[in-house]
């Protein structure tokens, strides 16, 4: 297998996971990942060799996602019904408290900058420094956004209501 594929392909599962979490639609998510990979291949010769490849790919993907939002003129993508099916719903388990469906509704209610920080750090296991690079913000801003994201998710889980959070449209 060629070198580019060997380097990039291990990152594709994470890129797809992040895309689904952002878009909540499987086809649209894979379209986004495909756009990301096409951009990456086109820009490959200009890539900084010392930079982190994963952070670079996630940066491209998030920028494309934001560009797509601006084009469509809306900030909160609606959850497609199909994406919820792939997420096991444990709402029937009393110990689980809110079902995952609701947890994702809480995630969707976050402003995009907070949602991305939370996803990159908590789900993608990115270091705070790499998340800062992807989001192009200082490390301190990563920490404060992460705080706000967790605070909102916590209050959402406690109250179980989206209505208490202002949904960003």
């Amino acid at each position: 297998m060629d070198e580019i594929a060997t380097l990039i392909e291990p990152q594709i599962p994470g890129l797809r996971r992040y895309a689904v979490a952002l878009l909540r639609d499987r086809e649209a998510a894979d379209d986004l990942v495909q756009d990301t990979l096409e951009r990456a291949l086109a820009a490959w010769p200009q890539r900084r060799r010392d930079g982190d490849l994963r952070a670079w790919l996630f940066t491209i993907q998030r920028n494309l996602f934001l560009a797509g939002l601006r084009r469509r003129g809306r900030a909160a993508p609606q959850a497609g019904p199909d994406v919820l099916d792939i997420v096991p719903d444990r709402s029937s388990d009393p110990a689980a408290g809110l079902g995952l469906r609701d947890l994702f509704a809480g995630l969707d209610a976050l402003p995009e900058d907070q949602r991305s920080v939370l996803l990159l750090v908590a789900v993608e296991d990115m270091s705070y420094a790499d998340a800062a690079a992807v989001l192009d913000i200082p490390l301190g801003t990563v920490m404060s956004r992460l705080s706000r994201a967790r605070e909102r998710m916590r209050s959402f889980v406690e109250t179980g209501r989206i209505g208490l959070l202002r949904r960003v449209k």
Binding site: M1, D2, I4, A5, I8, E9, I12, P13, G14, R16, R17, V20, A21, E27, A28, D30, D31, V33, Q34, L37, E38, L41, A42, I86, V87, P88, R90, A96, L100, L103, F104, L107, L118, L119, V121, A122, V123, D125, S127, Y128, M143, L146, S147, R150, M153, R154, V157, E158
Partner: protein
């Protein structure tokens, strides 16, 4: 590291604890700090649980195999025809808007595949509906069987008013089963069915189109059914199957070459370097 970290516990420590990014020494210090502060500890516990449930919920996606269309080798192959992409996008848009006027890309070059999730093109909708109706048919999947090949081709050609070709897809492991005639508005459409050794069935739907010229391959998916459609020489073509995109694209390329009287591309796209 020598000696305990003397810095007091901060909020960044709490996040790092939740995200499992603290070294063991700092971690026990932060945990000891939390043990005396039940309110803070409860917050951390709640954040931790949210994190774990988000991960568990999203993790199945990262464990899925990589779809064919996201394989770097496939993307690189498509990039070689990427100069056609702007034309391709325009052609898709034009077709989606009702197919007024065709967009001619250079003849002799295969159309660049364009991935689209739209099932908006009527020929594709009809082709997928026909696929769903007839591939499940055990007794009468086709009206005319392939052993009556000359009759099959001349009959369908006569009804459509165009000379049709029944592409040979044996190089791709697909045998022609036969075909049937379908209504398509005021016109007719021809449906050819193929199958492979594992019983996977594939259909080639063709009908006289309103658009002249030549469009790119358009990909569409409806549930587990995938389709590539294109227009060439006043005909609309749709290949449909429950298979991966790479294999279906190889079929589309082979069909396209054969209906234009060109030699079929050798092998499948997956076997190409």
């Amino acid at each position: 590291m020598s000696g305990p970290d003397p810095r007091p516990v901060g909020e960044d420590d709490l996040h790092a604890l939740i995200d499992e990014r603290l070294d063991p020494q700092r971690r026990s210090l932060v945990e000891a700090w939390l043990a005396e502060r039940p309110e803070q500890a409860a917050r951390v516990a709640a954040d931790r649980e949210t994190r774990l449930r988000l991960r568990a919920g999203l993790d199945p996606i990262a464990r899925e195999p990589i779809p064919a269309r996201l394989r770097i080798a496939n993307l690189q192959r498509r990039r070689q025809t990427s100069i056609w992409r702007p034309v391709a996008a325009a052609a898709v848009l034009c077709l989606a808007l009702g197919g007024i006027g065709g967009w001619v890309t250079a003849r002799g070059l295969g159309p660049a595949p364009v991935v689209s999730t739209m099932l908006s093109e009527p020929a594709t909708q009809d082709a997928v509906a026909a696929f769903r109706t007839f591939v499940v048919e055990a007794a009468h999947p086709v009206e005319v069987r392939a052993n009556e090949m000359p009759h099959l081709v001349s009959w369908l050609s006569q009804r459509l008013g165009r000379q049709l070709v029944a592409p040979d897809l044996r190089g791709l492991g697909l045998r022609l089963m036969g075909g049937r005639l379908l209504p398509a508005g005021s016109e007719q459409a021809a449906l050819l069915m193929y199958d492979d050794d594992r019983g996977t069935r594939l259909t080639l739907y063709s009908r006289v189109g309103t658009a002249e010229g030549r469009t790119v391959f358009r990909f569409a998916r409806e549930g587990d059914v995938a389709a590539f459609s294109w227009v060439d020489g006043g005909m609309a073509y749709v290949v449909t199957a429950r298979t991966d995109e790479a294999r279906l694209l190889a079929v589309a390329e082979s069909v396209d070459a054969q209906v234009r009287g060109l030699p079929a591309p050798k092998g499948t796209t997956q076997e190409r370097p």
